[in-house]
């Protein structure tokens, strides 16, 4: 009797597994196909230098010390602007605090997640890279 019960449950189990042969695959063949990401995705940073006043809020809310480096300077009108600005992706944890708390909306995050690189030094995003990200990913979109 017990053996019969076991046999029935084994048959049900095998039929359940067998059903899946006819279903469509759920996986995507990366890198040929990629998933679609939405605007809220937290990927590589982009930076609008026009909006930034080098106030340093992004530095103060960043959980990982030394990720964001700002060198600020005064222009001829007496306003502060960032002469140099860099984000070190080796230290960044992609929490999005800098984007959330920037009072001027100068810093954004893009959908770029393929950040693997051969050298550690290239993972430090300098101001020009960040500006280019902004033009390529935020404005062009």
């Amino acid at each position: 009797m017990k053996n019969l019960k076991y046999l029935i449950s084994l048959i049900i189990g095998h039929l359940t597994v067998f059903k899946h042969i006819f279903k469509k695959p759920v996986t995507l063949e990366y890198p040929e196909k990629k998933i679609e990401l939405n605007d809220k995705f937290r990927g590589e940073h982009a930076f609008d230098v026009e909006k930034c006043t080098a106030c340093g809020t992004c530095q103060r809310v960043c959980p990982s010390f030394g990720t964001i480096e700002i060198e600020k300077e005064k222009d001829e009108n007496g306003k502060f602007y960032p002469k140099n600005y860099s984000i070190d992706l080796n230290k960044c944890i992609f929490c999005g605090n800098c984007v959330q708390y920037c009072p001027f909306g100068a810093i954004k995050m893009t959908q770029n997640y393929e950040l693997a690189d051969e050298k550690k030094s290239t993972l430090k995003l300098e101001i020009n890279t960040l500006k280019r990200n902004y033009f390529d990913n935020i404005i062009d979109k």
Binding site: K5, Y6, S9, L10, I12, G13, T16, V17, H20, V26, I35, L37, N38, K40, F41, R42, T57, R60, V61, C62, P63, I93, F94, C95, G96, N97, Q100, Y101, M109
Partner: protein, 368 residues
């Protein structure tokens, strides 16, 4: 190493079934385990000490990493403690969103546990099915929060942004198809004779021992003790929702499995109620805390939340400055690892994974 006819063997820290970096030193007599010594600390990241050098806002994104399968729970525990200390009001809509995301997170955590537990015991297909269904949840999280595991979605006094109708629709669709999937798992696993023989009457955790070792969560409920901190959590809106606490009585590995399966169904019930409420009601979710520096008045608070692996508590002590004076985490897995030597004593070596897997331990939560 062989001494006095006993064989000492080492499992881990880099072992595929220890769920992280955890090490066991076992003493075997033939196939019978004489003693087991868990060695922890390989994943220690100093989460508690880290808090002391960071402001509340800087520390908030890092707490998701205490338990990476239940990021929302840790985030909630810390936010709740700070909100209580600083007397920040949380709106009703935020609470509903929090409960919705917490329960989705519990479901995703249980799904991963189910797949990996069966994989530990030699069954490969369930892993693919559970990961396939968990993937839907993770995509929903990614759409809502921006990342798949490290959400950083809760803020002090609310959530980062509101949920929208499209997203809620997707969650409702998921809730509709999920019960059939859970039935599929049960068809494959629950009545399977091999699974039953390997888990029934194995690793029995008595009521008395569970209480002695401060076990909480599904492991405790499988031993017949009805303790669910959701039922008396007045800071969330669980009292307005209709759900049951599932318990089992014998406390063996099979019961721990059954409790979690039943809990998944309860999760779906809670999720669908939250979705209905959120679709029918409007409200404000944005936190009243706008400035990046948050000063918390002097005091201390312990907040509890029923996480997938037992009660997760966060103790925060403030000295009135912008940084916490002390943060202490209490997580369920730590206690389950301490229990393991007692459960393993006198059992067979091949049963080890059937017992250890059923406790649902993950190493980052043990070490913090």
């Amino acid at each position: 190493m062989q001494t006095n006819n006993k064989l000492k063997i080492n499992i881990g820290p880099q072992h595929p079934s220890t769920h992280g970096v955890l090490r066991f030193v076992l003493e075997l007599d033939g196939e019978i385990i004489k003693s087991c010594e868990p060695v922890i600390g390989y994943l220690h990241r100093g989460m508690e000490k880290m808090a002391e050098s960071r402001t509340y806002l800087q520390y908030l994104p890092t707490v998701d990493r205490v338990d990476y399968l239940g990021g929302f729970f840790n985030s909630y525990a810390f936010c709740n403690a700070v909100e209580n200390l600083a007397q920040i009001e949380v709106s009703k809509r935020s609470r509903y969103i929090r409960v919705l995301t917490l329960e989705m997170n519990r479901l995703s955590s249980h799904l991963l546990w189910l797949g990996s537990y069966l994989l530990d015991m030699g069954a490969t297909s369930p892993l693919f099915y559970t990961l396939r269904d968990r993937e839907v949840l993770l995509s929903l999280f990614e759409e809502l929060t921006g990342q798949r595991l490290m959400y950083n979605y809760y803020t002090f006094g609310g959530v980062r942004h509101d949920v929208w109708a499209d997203w809620l629709k997707k969650v409702a669709d998921f809730v509709e198809i999920m019960p059939r999937k859970i039935q599929d798992y049960e068809d494959i696993i629950t009545n399977n004779p091999i699974f039953a023989t390997r888990t029934k009457d194995i690793g029995i955790l008595s009521k008395h021992k569970a209480l002695q070792y401060s076990i909480t969560g599904p492991n405790l409920r499988a031993s017949g003790i009805d303790l669910d901190s959701r039922k008396d959590a007045n800071n969330l809106i669980y009292d307005e929702l209709d759900f049951e606490t599932k318990i089992a009585h014998s406390g063996d590995s099979f019961d721990r499995y059954m409790v979690r399966i039943e809990e998944m169904r309860e999760c779906l019930k809670i999720i669908s109620q939250c979705v209905n409420w959120l679709m029918g009601n409007e409200g404000d979710v944005i936190s009243p805390v706008k400035q990046p520096t948050l000063k918390v008045p002097e005091g201390e608070f312990i907040s509890n939340v029923e996480a997938p692996r037992g009660i997760c508590s966060c103790y925060v002590k403030s000295d009135g400055s912008g940084k916490p004076y002390r943060v202490k985490w209490r997580t369920g897995s730590y206690y389950a690892v301490q229990l393991l030597p007692k459960l393993l004593e006198g059992t067979f070596y091949p049963d080890m994974m059937a017992i250890f897997g059923s406790l649902d331990v993950i190493a980052p939560e043990v070490d913090r």
